[in-house]
């Protein structure tokens, strides 16, 4: 490791104390403010666990029931707090079990540091027991990774790990530490990392880019904003709100962007993308200026790129230069941190209302309400809908809850209909679409924001992918509210099979166990609802509970999520039925 990559000035400043590598790891975590870690012990990480036990007054370790759960819990914690989440695992299978969560954090830009034990350095490459090349395996899905084989590397590498994970566009970092390096004694001194020569986390804001973008915004007749998680990650909620309100521009959100401003905000026009709202999708292909803020034009947002917003000038506020013109060519890139760019562009833009243009969104809302929303949230048919459950959760939590969703139909319905009053309230697996994300992520979110209500909304499929984390709920008494919307199907895949594979329901129907009995086995109060007349009371009881609560709602088996942009279609060809 090259010492020159970190400012020498900082490394030179601190005083030293003799200690083992594993004890040093504790001190590094404390120095970085990481006093809550998720993990699972095993042979190669035992020296560190020994220190975690000794220093349990400084760092709380939460034993998840699977290493994947540890990563998702760390992600949930990070998304709810904005801090770096930490997950720990042993070598070999412990380390490989982290990969799904790491890939999820990479694609959704979640700050996370994973620490893995590794076999002794003399055994590296010998196919030793529980040895795996986790550096090689994790390379494509980490922002940075590093293997420590000597204790003296620990302070500098850990400082770098946290700095890289949280700075610029955040992401996951994996640090692999050999067992001998954990035992080795050395002179410990810690200095925070604030600079790496080869790494520019945040590009410098360029005045000319701001001016050009502001001119295009001021000249626009039918402008539209699409914002993403960059607003939340940049802690630019206030600046964003001021920008939207002054410019008067209709603002739509990506799945990870929602909650940056309250959903009830009059300039919020809904979600873009495959299962987004009718108006913002159709009008994407009608606006004259599209202002993308902290989003990356994922294919689930754009549909067919050949027909995506071709008539519009594209302004792209973005922190990661590699995202600019990656999928959609930016006519006016605005590089930099969203907090800075948005506050600096504010004085350059004119105050407007765009009343007629807003009316276009409202007109589309009326159509969508009649064709889709009304039947989703106020159904007249006998079977229960996912939408009405979300609507009741809104009513009982008054939009103050953190809503954690898994992946599938319930996720789309949940995020479409949930009310969010404050930022960092929507936690979901967006880019990777990881089933099994929600339960462990909800545990992490609840621990990160203990004063907030945390409601996990999960399908019957995804729930069973990490159902073992009920054990973590049981042991930690994390008061998460778990709602399983059970349609006895892998619903989203079934929907596609119905629409595109002539209803050949290949391996999507599920014979499910008695979920309430399982929850009760973990001492979690449980209730199952199959009839509308019992639903509201059950939701109310769940929200009123001070403890964790499991609510299973039997919903219509073959309901579909609409609107929908079929794969490869244009955003303006969004289907309402």
């Amino acid at each position: 490791m090259d010492v020159k990559t970190i400012d020498k000035k900082q490394s030179a400043a601190a005083t030293t104390t003799k200690m083992s590598g594993s004890e040093a790891l504790i001190h590094c975590l404390v120095a970085e403010g990481a006093n809550l870690v998720y993990g699972y012990p095993g042979g190669a990480i035992m020296p560190f666990y020994d220190q975690l036990h000794i220093h349990q007054d400084k760092i709380q370790h939460v034993l998840t029931r699977h290493e994947q759960g540890a990563t998702h819990a760390a992600q949930g914690f990070a998304r709810a707090t904005g801090k770096v989440g930490v997950a720990v695992a042993t070598s070999g299978p412990g380390a490989t079990n982290l990969i799904t969560g790491i890939a999820d954090a990479q694609i959704d830009s979640t700050p996370m540091v994973c620490i893995t034990g590794q076999v002794g350095s003399h055994l590296l490459g010998s196919d030793a027991f529980q040895e795996t090349d986790i550096i090689g395996i994790s390379t494509p899905v980490t922002k940075w990774n590093y293997q420590i084989t000597s204790a003296k590397e620990i302070p500098e590498v850990m400082a770098k790990a946290f700095y890289i994970a949280r700075s610029g566009r955040p992401g996951p970092v994996l640090i692999d530490i050999t067992k001998d390096a954990q035992f080795e004694e050395f002179d410990y001194a810690y200095a925070k990392c604030e600079h790496i020569r080869s790494y520019t986390p945040t590009p410098e804001v360029q005045e000319d880019q701001l001016k050009a973008a502001a001119e295009a915004i001021n000249a626009a007749k039918k402008p539209m904003i699409v914002w993403g998680q960059g607003v939340i990650l940049g802690e630019a909620e206030e600046e964003f709100k001021a920008f939207v309100e002054k410019s008067g521009i209709p603002a739509a959100w990506t799945i990870l962007g929602v909650s940056a401003i309250p959903t009830s905000h009059p300039l919020n026009v809904g979600m873009v993308g495959m299962h987004g709202n009718y108006g913002p999708n159709v009008l994407t292909n009608e606006c004259d200026v599209l202002i993308a803020i902290g989003m990356r034009f994922d294919d689930r947002v754009t549909g067919n790129l050949e027909t995506y917003a071709k008539q519009a000038k594209i302004i792209h506020f973005e922190i990661d230069p590699a995202e600019v013109s990656k999928n959609v060519k930016a006519d006016y890139p605005v590089l930099g941190n969203s907090k800075e760019t948005l506050s600096r562009i504010l004085p350059l833009i004119n105050e407007k209302t765009h009343t007629d243009w807003h009316q276009r969104f409202k007109d589309h809302d009326v159509i969508e309400y009649e064709k889709v929303i009304k039947n989703d949230i106020h159904p007249t048919k006998e079977g229960l809908t996912m939408g009405e459950v979300i609507e009741l959760i809104n009513k009982k939590t008054k939009g103050e809850a953190i809503i954690v969703t898994d992946v599938g139909q319930h996720q789309m319905v949940g995020i479409r209909y949930a009310d969010f009053n404050q930022s960092k309230s929507n936690i979901t697996s967006g880019g990777l679409g990881t089933m099994g994300f929600a339960l462990p992520a909800a545990i992490g979110a609840k621990m990160g924001a203990p004063d907030r209500e945390v409601v996990a909304i999960i399908g019957d499929g995804g729930y069973q992918m990490t159902i073992q984390e009920l054990g973590t709920v049981f042991q930690t008494e994390a008061a998460v509210k778990i709602v399983v919307l059970n349609n006895e199907f892998l619903g989203m895949v079934r929907q596609w099979q119905q629409l595109f594979f002539d209803k050949r329901y290949a391996s999507t129907e599920m014979k499910n166990p008695n979920f309430c009995k399982i929850a009760e086995a973990y001492d979690i109060e449980a209730q199952k609802v199959s009839k509308r007349e019992n639903l509201e009371a059950a939701v109310e009881k769940m929200i009123a509970s001070k403890n964790s609560f499991f609510l299973e709602v039997m919903v219509e088996k073959e309901d579909n999520v609409f609107p929908m942009i079929p794969t490869g279609a244009s955003v303006s060809d969004i289907r309402l039925e």
Binding site: M1, D2, K4, T5, D7, K8, K9, A12, A13, I135, G136, T139, P140, K143, W144, N145, Y146, Q147, I164, I196, R197, S198, Y199, D320, P321, A322, V324, S325, K326
Partner: protein, 185 residues
């Protein structure tokens, strides 16, 4: 942007860290792009490492990949250039039985015409080195092949650009700043 496939020489200035090659090659691998040649060396700046690789892709792909490479924490800067913009060379080594040098006078002509260099000669074999464009090395290979080549190896491309690499001044600046900061502390 044109969808024409070009040959690009990609020059990547990096920190000298284990695993970085893996990180860079993964960027090409996940897009199913073959790396035609690769060489790694020190650069003109102390402590800065340099990868030179050759790929055949469109400019559109190249521009995006450059961004992905520069995103890597330990990459300082990446550049790409067409053949016209660079002076580049490869090197080929041919190991041939020594007796052929006397038995086949044509071999001496090949050596002379190609401006190849004899690196070593002993009783059993001699080694011929030819530097230049891929086509020139291939030509020597084709001509020698009928006589029997004991071993052949060819290096990856190394290149310098015709115009100035803005990296040198940039790096010098960083280095000066660091040294100044260190001296102050």
């Amino acid at each position: 942007m044109s969808e024409k496939i070009n040959t690009y020489t990609v020059t990547i200035y990096t920190e000298n860290n284990i695993g970085l090659l893996n990180r860079i090659s993964a960027i090409f691998q996940r897009r199913k792009i073959n790396i035609e040649s690769l060489s790694a060396s020190e650069s003109e700046i102390d402590d800065v490492f340099k990868f030179t690789l050759v790929v055949n892709i469109t400019e559109h792909q190249m521009e995006k990949i450059k961004g992905q490479i520069e995103r890597q924490v330990e990459v300082i800067k990446a550049f790409y250039h067409t053949d016209e913009e660079t002076i580049f060379t490869e090197s080929g080594l041919f190991k041939i039985k020594s007796e052929l040098l006397f038995e086949e006078p044509q071999i001496q002509n090949i050596i002379k015409d190609s401006h190849a260099r004899i690196v070593t000669v002993n009783r059993e074999f001699f080694v011929l080195e030819k530097s230049g464009r891929r086509s020139e090395i291939d030509l020597v290979h084709r001509e020698l092949k009928p006589f029997g080549i004991m071993q052949f190896t060819r290096s990856g491309r190394i290149a310098v650009t015709k115009t100035e690499m803005p990296i040198s001044t940039l790096l010098q600046q960083i280095k000066d700043e660091q040294e100044a900061a260190f001296a102050k502390a």
